[in-house]
Amino acid sequence: MTNPAPVAAPARLAEIEAIIAAHLWREGPLLPILHDVQAAFGFIPSDAHAPIAAALNISRAELHGVLSFYHDFRDAPAGKHVLKICRAEACQAMGGAAMSQAVLDTLGLDWNQTTRDGRVTVEPVYCLGLCACAPAAMVDGKLKGRATAQTILAELSA
């Protein structure tokens, strides 16, 4: 689950329109639309704002309010690999803080940053439900239990 390839603007608009149309029958279609747009492009491109707002009869300010509220939605593409490391209590109890610090130090990053070569983005996540096999991480959508800095870094270079 690495990022999708960039799509040119006109083709992108057509795809955005198709995604909107596919969800308009729902009650409260905004989140399903945004999830699909992000799945298609890896982020929510700014040229998606106007058609979504128009189709749902909401202002662009309201749309911005939703986009900025949820941690999942990006306004720019992430790195080639997305690494999410759990920061919550159960993982802390198993040395999660030291493990994530070691990963961040090796990559030269802080939370929510991307390596300069665009290879890896590291994000915090608050619980993956793997609390009985902590610490936990997710590499490009793949879950890792009893994660160590070594296994995570190995997965990233694979």
Partner: protein, 498 residues
Amino acid sequence: MKIYVPRDAAARALGADAVAQAFAALGHEVIRNGSRGMVWLEPLVEIAQGGVRRAYGAVTPADVAGILAGTVESLGVVEDIPFFARQTRLTFARCGVIDPLDLSDYAAHGGLSGLRRALDLGPEGVVDEVKQSGLRGRGGAGFPTGIKWETVARAAGPQKYIVCNADEGDSGTFADRMIMEGDPFSVIEGMVIAGIAVGATKGFVYIRSEYPDAIDVMTSAVKIARKNNLLGCVLHSSHEFDIEVRVGAGAYVCGEETSLLNSLEGKRGVVRAKPPLPALEGFMGRPTVVNNVISLATIPVIFEKGAAHYAGFGLGRSKGTMPIQIAGNVARGGLFETGFGMPLGELVNDIAGGAATGRPVKAVQVGGPLGAYFAPEKFDTPFAYEEFDGQGGLIGHAGVVVFDDSADMRAMARFAMEFCAVESCGKCTPCRIGAVRGVETIDRIAAGDAGAIPLLVDLCETMKHGSLCALGGFTPYPVMSVLTQFPEEFAGHREAAE
């Protein structure tokens, strides 16, 4: 011979897919069941032969040939493993036993018999049965489920909804995830029965995006249920019901029911003031039942075995069983379903074997990031709603996170405030501003300013009484529990500085 290798996310995170592939490569068919909940043994492979299922774990692909040849030692019959044998499995009776997406396997293990009985009882009879069972909201609030259903049943509206809250964000909890991945039809059956009770024809399952496996299994289960008339025209009766699976977008506060409803409607997941209750004005302003996954997944067994049977377990007003999740620094972590009332210390030390590191247990946090820390002095507290409340804590969604003596309790108190600041929806001031000030105040105390301790206590009081929802309102629980039980950790740096 049948081979079971769990498809549960925790099993997969520990390598279950590679194990399943190794069996397949040797020409064997593998059933991908849910997890039995003994996570420290995952991937836990089961070989069914001669009417018993023998367990092997934790299995690596290298063990597979030996298991088939009989040269790898078994852990014995799954149900005889002490951690499993000591449980009372009602909600999780089928989890790990059946193929999660095989509806006939589900029916062969008691599934759908509750729904058939509910259809016979009719709406009022269904509400009465749930009230008789004593079932209380398993998401954490502990509100009587039957009363909630009755309120929605009596409310007038052109359309009513059943919303399954699967936004299980509390650290240390994974029961919702496990049941959705291991027995999704129980959630669907529970929602259908709720629909019959209140006159709702539409349901939503709102699953957090951090649970990709649960989203996949629930989505497939809904399709299968539609195809087999569990959804649609319910078992060919006069009742209609359909379910839509929705995915969250990474916001802890959306586990709060009103914020979840706003999110479903496509808005910011901001908390709504109550009243109006969601039961009267919920999704799209219409009467809505919002129940936790475990509450709904427990409904079928209540109807299958009868309310009296269910209510026969438990302690005082905490009736029935609770799937307790034991996690963090623990030797035998996993899901342990038992009647309410087991002392906390028995769970931590006896059942779960204490800390994984072998060091002394220093504290356990019960009920997620908003739950209090319990030092061993309080380990005789029985696991039940009122009993935990009486100790300044809460059972929440029944997650128990164990810490050994290396834990920095002041850092954990600071983290509680930091987490609240990150996840606050911003609607009410005590939570939005209080959490930020809380982090600053704990840092001041850490730097040696003991005069800031009363300030922290005062701030916690304000957040507790002034916040709109449990995020701001309960964040003081972990903070105050550390302050009262581990005061020396708050003073430690000051002495070092002097």
